[in-house]
């Protein structure tokens, strides 16, 4: 990454009783998740980035300036794709024609995603001749995603693209978005309310409230900050970057190593030793024991040290920050448990992590 890489975005605009005022510096690759309450300005921010919403400000994407002072690149000159919150399919075009709309406006040399590939990824084979009015809500969202991908964008803006999809459909689509992320290294800005989706996809997080940015940073750090409630405490989590080091074919498990620690996780046929991997560990899935108890179903028991204990937002709860090796973890407990175990910073304990609770 040279110095010009990265996304710089600074915008100011206002409606009657809402004002957007943000300054962001985002990585030039990977997925940035945009979080915040309904009405906090997420859609407005995406629209500013796309050039759809006139605003004061500056937008530079990996060294290309899209907006600055009086200059503003028209929307259609910005090599971006936008998946709208309400799909915006063209009613006069069939599914196939909708997909082709952006696709054939890209020079064929610049196309990074193949038409048939996108159709396959999003499971649209049977729908190609259908008119959009005759699609179900989830089908419409899938078409909108495929249409956006087919423009081989250099920035992908997605406004709750999976909201109308059931978990199984999401599970089908997420891997492709991940692959997009891995192979094309297009920066993606992703608005979502589903913390699971975000944890799985995002590298970077931006939290908004009332038109302002309240926190931003890499996923791992931001999530491990006990002061920064991550869209509701029940979803507080840390991300651990690890490497696959072994497999247990009998139990369909594989072993992942981070620092000098090891953890068991559910096997995935796509993984092979040496692969880097991201693990999400939810604070609520981490319990703390004073001793190592092997006669229980929880498989991952890691020695750790208590770093910090904070009152949770909800009365009677506590968030404990621990370090195992070099890796930070969060554990959500009841205050009563903190008292009973007499937890205090510096204390040595055992983390109990349910292996099946590890995703990704």
């Amino acid at each position: 990454m040279n110095t010009a890489m990265g996304i710089e975005a600074r915008f100011q605009c206002r409606f009657e009783d809402f004002a957007l005022d943000v300054t962001l510096t985002l990585p030039g690759t990977g997925v940035t998740a945009l979080f915040g309450h309904s009405g906090c300005g997420k859609t407005t921010l995406l629209r500013c980035m796309a050039g759809l919403q006139p605003a004061q400000g500056r937008m530079v994407v990996n060294g290309e300036c899209w907006q600055e002072d009086d200059f503003s690149l028209p929307v259609h000159r910005r090599p971006l794709a936008y998946v709208f919150q309400d799909t915006g399919l063209f009613p006069h075009l069939s599914v196939a024609q909708n997909l082709h709309y952006g696709y054939r406006r890209i020079a064929s040399g610049a196309r990074q995603i193949d038409f048939d590939q996108a159709v396959r990824w999003l499971g649209l084979e049977r729908l190609l001749d259908r008119m959009p009015q005759k699609l179900s809500g989830g089908e419409r969202q899938r078409v909108a995603i495929a249409r956006a991908l087919l423009t081989s964008p250099r920035l992908l803006l997605m406004d709750e693209p999976l909201s109308a999809l059931d978990d199984a459909s999401k599970q089908d689509i997420l891997p492709y978005l991940e692959r997009l992320h891995d192979s094309l290294s297009i920066p993606v800005i992703y608005v979502s309310h589903a913390t699971g989706e975000v944890a799985r996809l995002a590298d970077h997080i931006v939290m908004m409230a009332a038109g302002k940015v309240t926190a931003q940073g890499p996923l791992q750090e931001t999530l491990a900050r006990t002061d920064q409630p991550f869209a509701g405490e029940d979803d507080a989590a840390v991300i651990v970057k690890a490497t696959i080091t072994g497999r247990d074919d009998r139990w369909h498990l594989c072993l992942a190593e981070f620092g000098d620690r090891q953890i068991w996780l559910r096997d995935d046929p796509r993984l092979s030793p040496g692969d880097p991997i991201r693990l999400q560990v939810l604070a609520r899935d981490v319990s703390i024991a004073l001793n190592r108890h092997r006669d229980q179903s929880i498989q991952n028991l890691l020695p750790a040290r208590v770093e910090e204990i904070r009152q949770g937002r909800q009365p009677g709860t506590a968030i404990v920050r621990l370090v195992s090796g070099d890796t930070p973890f969060l554990s959500q407990l009841t205050s009563r448990a903190v008292e009973q175990l007499a937890l205090s910073p510096g204390m040595a304990v055992w983390l109990q992590i349910k292996s099946v609770a590890i995703v990704g």
């Binding site: 796309a50 028209p74 929307v75 259609h76 794709a81 009613p91 006069h92 709309y101």
Partner: protein, 225 residues
């Protein structure tokens, strides 16, 4: 070609040329009226509708004045070497274009205004330039409006009469269109010829209109909006 057939041919030619020209001229005006927030919007919309208010012969009279040798436009066209427009086919076209303008602009303006602006935004993010968006999104979605505009304009030019009579000078083969021919028959008490011509015109128009509408709803199946 008999004089009646000449009149038929001239009528169709006039209506077709007028309709084509008006679609070209009327589309940008209608788009501007539908989308602009300029203060001139309402005055321009009113001016576009004004030709409707004047009785055709009166409008024809004023056109005769303006396009004639003493008129501003007449002097301009003479200066340009085009000559004077009255009593020529070109003059008829100019008069019909002015007279039928509201029939083109109004339906188009409504059709444009009814288009969901989000779809234009979507098209922009899919790399369509403003021109491209207009042709790939606006025009297909406004198709019923274009049909109405074309039908009203064409039919009105066919039936139009006062202005044509005035500007055209009723020259057989040059400016004597069907409506004038039927009128002549009626005035001359040649009722049976008038009946035949009128009935033929109605039957022909009916067939054309029915086919047009059927075609439209055939293609229009998908577009509900």
């Amino acid at each position: 070609m008999g004089p009646e057939w000449q009149a038929v041919w001239l009528t169709l030619k006039l209506a077709a040329v007028t309709t084509a020209l008006l679609l070209v001229i009327g589309t940008p005006i209608a788009w501007w009226l539908a989308r602009s927030r300029h203060w001139l919007r309402q005055p321009v919309a009113a001016v576009v509708a004004l030709p409707l208010v004047l009785p055709p012969t009166v409008l024809g009279f004023y056109l005769l004045v303006v396009l004639g040798p003493d008129g501003l436009i007449g002097q301009l066209t003479e200066h340009l070497g085009i000559g004077l427009l009255p009593f020529t086919f070109e003059g008829l076209v100019v008069a019909s274009v002015i007279y039928s303008l509201p029939f083109t602009v109004q339906p188009l303006q409504n059709a444009f205004a009814a288009i969901n602006p989000q779809l234009l935004e979507v098209a922009a993010t899919l790399r369509a330039s403003p021109r491209d968006r207009f042709f790939s999104v606006v025009i297909p979605l406004a198709r019923p409006g274009f049909l109405t505009a074309a039908v009203l304009t064409f039919a009105h030019t066919v039936g139009e009469f006062g202005v044509v009579l005035m500007i055209g000078g009723n020259i057989p083969g040059e400016t004597r269109v069907l409506s004038v021919a039927i009128y002549d028959h009626v005035e001359a008490l040649e009722y049976s010829q008038a009946h035949w011509l009128a009935a033929g015109m109605l039957a022909f128009s009916f067939v054309v209109l029915v086919s047009l509408y059927s075609l439209n709803s055939r293609f229009g199946n998908g577009v509900v909006r």
